[in-house]
């Protein structure tokens, strides 16, 4: 238990109870986020990345529910200094255990953990000015007057690089360009300088150049606020550019987690390897988009037994991979992977 951990997800299971049947969107995810670190959560679209994120904020709505696992959040109790973690004393709460609509949870949302959503066009209310929507967060978590809140909103808008924020603050989202909207969204998330920022595909809706700017901005702000970022994306290029660590998800499980260098240079899990192989060399972030791996994503109604990846796995071991789902294995270099190939009890070496 290293003390600089900010968030620890243990065996998280989030399921959707649909009339068609049970959907195990997140199926035992383990994930660690250190203070100040940027963790990329990658995977083909819909492998459960977003659901994981929502689970962290306890915002999974009917008919979905977090059914098992812990989400340990080590919050630093606010000290005079604030922001800086060192010396401040740390309190651990299990978000998964909190009442989704309770006070405690609300206190965490936005204040401790903030989130940036995919398409600002639909994720921002068109009925309210961006100012209003930012101030709402501020007023919720700080004991300040309308005026102060407004000032703060303008500051933050400046920070995220929105020119003459003083006017823009009174504008409606649909009056802004896509990039500006996303900046506004970021501003909203940062308004209460959270310790963890979850960015769910923050750049997908944007064109390349804006993408770059937005990412720039985020990293810049991360340094300034000293927060951790959980960057959800399916764009390995982005990950390579921005993240310290990477967690690869497949079918609701984190199949491999480690430092960017480790993952990119010596991927341990066949899936990760497949992913990387599918990237053309010298890939710009644009070219970095995933090209599908041979084999198709299993049909939900005959979910493979054993390792979920084995039907598509080039190196799968008969009578093993198709029998039991591999456990999570901590490798010596500090990364973890879920693949029989790395089970010490198996003689196999990669």
């Amino acid at each position: 238990m290293s003390d600089d951990l900010l968030l620890e997800i243990k065996g998280l299971k989030t399921q959707f109870f649909l009339d068609e049947g049970l959907v195990e969107a997140v199926n035992g995810v383990n994930l660690k986020i250190r203070r100040g670190a940027t963790v990329g959560l990658v995977g083909e679209s819909g492998c459960g990345k977003s659901v994981t994120a929502f689970s962290v904020l306890n915002l999974v709505t009917r008919p979905g529910r977090v059914v098992a696992g812990q989400i340990l959040f080590h919050r630093t109790l606010a000290t005079a200094a604030g922001g800086d973690a060192r010396g401040a004393q740390v309190e651990t709460i299990d978000l998964a255990a909190l009442d989704p609509d309770g006070k405690q949870m609300s206190a965490v949302r936005g204040k401790e953990i903030a989130m940036i959503f995919q398409e600002p066009m639909v994720s921002l209310s068109m009925m309210h000015t961006i100012g209003f929507q930012i101030m709402e967060a501020i007023l919720l978590h700080f004991d300040v007057s309308q005026q102060e809140a407004r000032q703060r909103a303008i500051q933050i808008l400046n920070k995220v690089g929105i020119p003459n924020a003083a006017e823009r603050v009174d504008m409606y989202p649909f009056q802004l360009s896509g990039g500006m909207r996303q900046r506004a969204m970021i501003a909203m998330a940062l308004s209460c300088n959270p310790t963890l920022l979850i960015a769910d595909e923050p750049t997908t809706a944007l064109d390349v150049t804006t993408q770059a700017q937005i990412l720039e901005l985020m990293l810049h702000l991360q340094k300034e606020f000293g927060m951790s970022i959980l960057l959800i994306t399916h764009d390995l290029g982005v990950v390579a550019e921005t993240c310290d660590e990477v967690a690869v998800m497949y079918l609701g499980e984190v199949v491999e987690q480690g430092s960017v260098r480790q993952i990119f240079h010596s991927p341990a899990h066949p899936y990760t390897q497949a992913l990387l192989n599918s990237i053309p060399k010298l890939g710009s972030s644009k070219a970095g988009r995933l090209t599908p791996i041979e084999g198709t994503v299993p049909d939900p109604y005959n979910r493979p037994t054993g390792c979920p990846f084995h039907p598509r796995c080039v190196r799968f071991i008969k009578d093993l991979c198709d029998q039991d789902n591999p456990p999570q294995i901590e490798l010596n270099d500090g990364r973890s992977v879920r693949c029989w190939l790395h089970d010490p009890r198996q003689g196999v070496q990669s």
Partner: protein
């Protein structure tokens, strides 16, 4: 030292880790129609209503068959006769036997109060049967037939399952015939208003500018003429030598004349706000023609609202027809609609002494209820965010 963390329990054999996603993808490939159908199935009340409505419309088609008697059959002996109860079994000499029947009446006319007092007479057993032979009729207007779903074995015997009206006419039969007009008046009317509403509302909201202004003025102008005077004026102006059928169509027209405006305004409102939204922009940039834009891209986006409005509109039409008849502006005898029947029952004497004359109201309520539940189901089914 490799620490092996506790293996997470393997997922149950069934189920689908990517399910939620999978489902979506499956949904994406599904056409709008099938999609709606899937959701609709779940809405039990709507499903039931749909069935009921189908039945009702069967009655509309084959009224002559479902009605035991012709609507004008009168009888001096049975004015204001109360309803009989249809009994399936008869306690005959050799025990309980299957002999559907009703009990005949004993009646005395109180000369002082001018009230005919009826008592069901256990002595008189009126045998009735399914598929009884009764008055001949033309099924759907051209197939000659004499069979009625249910009727007295001897066709001159009294059978008043829902009682008789002031002329001793069978309320049940009349109600069945009434179904025909009442259940179609709504459809015709709403179809007209729907087309007008969406088209004009769409155009108005989409193009904006002077087109918008023009259409808005027209609408504003049409709705600002209060309906009752309009009805009074127009239906009084109907040529008095028109047949009930002509009058009937004229009235649907009069009803739908204002019907479309409301919808048009709603559609327009949505369009105005939709115009900004990106997918429309995108489509426009793809150079898809404007009407295409309206109907393929913009309409679906608020299907739900339209459906809600329409399904509420049909019953409104049905009710409007009853109101018109109440004002004596609607259809008139010999034409029979629920409105006409209710209008005949709309007096204290009937309510107190012949409440069965109000039965057509049940028809109205049933129709309106089912239509609403149906529309409700459709609405939820078409609602893109119903999950």
């Amino acid at each position: 030292m490799t620490a092996v963390s506790v293996p997470t329990p393997t997922a149950p054999r069934r189920g689908l880790p990517q399910g939620s996603q999978e489902k979506k993808t499956r949904v994406f490939v599904a056409s709008q129609g099938t999609l709606i159908w899937w959701r609709f199935r779940k809405h039990k009340p709507a499903l039931i209503s749909a069935v009921v409505l189908i039945l009702i419309y069967l009655v509309v088609l084959f009224a002559e068959f479902f009605a035991p008697f012709p609507q004008e059959n009168y009888s001096v002996k049975y004015t204001y006769a109360p309803p009989q109860t249809l009994q399936i079994f008869l306690n005959g000499p050799n025990g309980l036997e299957f002999r559907p029947h009703v009990l005949g009446y004993k009646s005395v006319l109180n000369q002082e109060s001018l009230k005919r007092v009826f008592t069901l007479d256990p002595e008189q057993v009126v045998p009735v049967q399914f598929f009884a032979q009764g008055e001949p009729y033309l099924l759907m207007g051209f197939i000659p037939a004499t069979t009625h779903l249910l009727g007295p074995t001897a066709k001159e015997d009294p059978m008043y399952l829902l009682g008789a009206d002031r002329l001793g006419r069978d309320v049940f039969s009349r109600m069945v015939y009434g179904t025909r007009i009442s259940m179609t008046i709504g459809l015709v009317g709403v179809t007209i208003s729907l087309l007008l509403g969406i088209l004009l509302g769409g155009i108005s909201g989409f193009f904006g500018g002077w087109v918008d202004i023009a259409i808005q003025r027209t609408i504003e102008f049409i709705i600002s003429i209060p309906s009752i005077p309009l009805w009074l004026g127009l239906s009084a102006a109907l040529p008095s030598d028109w047949s009930p059928i002509q009058v009937y169509f004229a009235i649907t027209l009069i009803l739908s004349l204002r019907g479309w405006t409301g919808l048009a305004r709603v559609v327009r409102g949505r369009f105005l706000s939709l115009r900004e939204e990106e997918f429309v922009m995108a489509a426009a940039l793809d150079g898809s023609s404007e009407l295409r834009l309206i109907f393929l891209h913009m309409l679906p986006s608020f299907m739900s609202h339209i459906i809600a409005t329409v399904t509420l509109a049909i019953p409104e039409m049905i009710l409007a027809e009853t109101s018109l008849s109440f004002l004596g502006l609607g259809l008139r005898a010999p034409a029979v609609s629920w409105g006409v029947l209710l209008q005949e029952a709309q007096n204290v004497r009937s309510v107190v002494q012949a409440p069965w004359l109000l039965v057509p109201a049940v028809g109205v309520i049933l129709a309106v209820l089912t239509f609403n539940f149906l529309g409700d189901g459709l609405r939820d089914a078409a609602d893109p965010y119903s999950r």
